[in-house]
Symmetry: C2
């Protein structure tokens, strides 16, 4: 059975009211607050159908209705009117971003901005290494047998790693290593790097091969394989808005999830569709986040996507507003990166 327009309208009203008041909403209150043009009895019938279809439920008999995850899903997919950002919000975004000095700065400001605008927990992923290209590699001698390898990417990330060399290394050799490594890798996408790194070792003169192999293994292991994603997080305090009620009693599982980078990446990640993505409750497939939703989006200069960002909040969240904000911020960050 398909739902006619009025039933959808009733669902929308329920979602909107419930998000606003956190109270289960009853038929009478509904007809009072919205111009549905029908009586409460009619609405009740509609509600019964919506409940049967699994879009709403009653916490208990003789209570009002509450949207289910499926209800929110339907709401997001079919009932969301795009809500343009307020001028104040636009200004906030621009004000937040004046005078950024480097990538770290961009990421930190962005995550705070997101948290503040959406009043949720915000997560921003640094530009993914696998989607970046090498701009420059630097080797800095730390001691006779130790080098600091510093990699700078075209997305502005700077990663460093200590390399323990097999034996002492004269300055000229460091120099030569540095030259060869840059020659081979500068300008290359990191995703394409592994075979090139292997080449480097193979092409190396035998007397230097040991050193190069050592360097190569560090390069591969830490910069490519472990693929080093970094994250920034802000706004955890927002979880406590409106008591702890939104998260069925405890924040514990949510806080635990937020501590795991892997989990956060999974939430924010999956950047395939360049559009904003909403995961509601169970959809994000993490037990601890049954009562949480995530709104995320990829960002990057121009049309390419180099990283993800998003916010996490209770399933009972203002989807239209949050979606608009996340999208706007993602676009803005992309523009900012494009300028560099």
């Amino acid at each position: 059975m398909s739902l006619d327009d009025r039933k959808l309208e009733v669902l929308r009203a329920i979602v909107e009211d419930y998000v606003e008041t956190r109270e289960p909403v009853g038929s009478k209150a509904l007809v009072e607050r919205h111009q549905l043009g029908v009586s409460s009895a009619t609405v009740r019938n509609d509600m019964a159908v919506l409940e049967e279809e699994g879009y709403i439920r009653q916490p208990h008999t003789s209570a009002g209705r509450v949207p289910t995850d499926a209800g929110y899903r339907l709401f997001v997919d079919r009932l969301t009117r795009i809500k343009p950002l307020s001028p104040a919000e636009r200004r906030a975004i621009e004000r937040f971003m004046i005078g950024v000095v480097d990538l770290d700065d961009v990421v930190h400001r962005t995550v705070r901005l997101l948290a503040q605008l959406t009043r949720q927990v915000a997560v921003v992923q640094y530009p993914s290494l696998s989607r970046s290209a090498v701009r420059h590699l630097e080797l800095v001698p730390i001691s006779t047998t130790r080098l600091m390898l510093v990699m700078i990417t075209d997305t502005g990330r700077v990663e460093q790693r200590l390399v323990e060399m097999p034996g002492p290394l004269p300055a000229d050799d460091v120099w030569e290593l540095r030259r060869r490594v840059n020659e081979k890798l500068a300008g290359q996408r990191l995703a394409d790097a592994p075979p090139l790194v292997q080449n480097l070792v193979d092409e190396c003169a035998p007397e230097r091969r040991g050193d190069m192999a050592c360097l190569a293994s560090v390069l591969l292991e830490t910069l490519v394989e472990r693929s080093e994603e970094r994250l920034a997080l802000a706004g955890t305090a927002n979880l406590t808005r409106g008591g702890v009620l939104d998260f069925q009693g405890t924040l514990r599982p949510v806080l635990e999830a937020l501590e795991e980078e892997v989990i956060l990446l999974k939430l924010i990640g999956d950047l395939e569709p360049s559009t904003t993505r909403v995961r509601i409750g169970d959809e994000n497939e993490i037990d601890n986040l049954r009562s949480a939703s995530v709104v995320s989006s990829g960002y990057g200069p121009g049309a390419t996507i180099v990283g993800g960002l998003g916010v996490l909040g209770p399933t009972r969240m203002d989807y239209p507003g949050t979606i608009a904000t996340v999208r706007a911020v993602a676009r803005y960050v992309g523009d900012l990166l494009a300028q560099n």
Copy 2:
């Protein structure tokens, strides 16, 4: 009036029991659980005195007693028997630290280790720049008018900053800048750097002075003045242990405080006394943390201190255990740094 030994013993018993059970402790329960050698009536008299002196209080008439901040303070200062780490804990520390590759790694592992061992929120400050010395400065051209300035310190920190140059800069000039900057600053403590940086500009040939001034201002501003402290945080989920009761109702203020780097630095900082430091409730002078205590310690290679670390939890915490753990971890991290 001074407190005799038995009264102190009663206070200790109250603190220990209350920490364990989170229940206000009464005179009867006390004499049952501890060998005080006197009757409950006597204990009651002692309690009345302790209350008058402000070390304990009753949530309400006819409830047991609960330690006040002053009570915890006295307990920590005079009644704490040093509790040696269990072998299991020692092993956990060592196991956690095998195979560290660089400073980031050390800091992240340390903060997680601390959170896990103490079951509190852990904070670790990166080695403070102002207490570090420059090991090397690198200039990497990003575009014709942009340089990436990378600084490596003797404590292993790597900081980078984008420098916008006044005009296009040929490779040789970059090279020359790099040489001069390193000549002047390598090996110098950052605290001593500002006048040296100024020298650098003054000594410069006029045709290069513009570039050097530009570089110098970035150096001063971002690396010295803003003094760039970095932090790692872990274990926020531990705040929810034992309900929210330990924090008088809401976690909100605590979470808010944890989001402010400045506040955290104040909590962990003040490294003057090289020993472990305990701040109880109000003592940490931050409104939001009225019901929280902080146990912190400086760390560094050998006897010098380069940064701070610590944990934050409810005032109702296991002080002896926490102090022992924080101290042990701080020492261990110091040793680790000394090896590099």
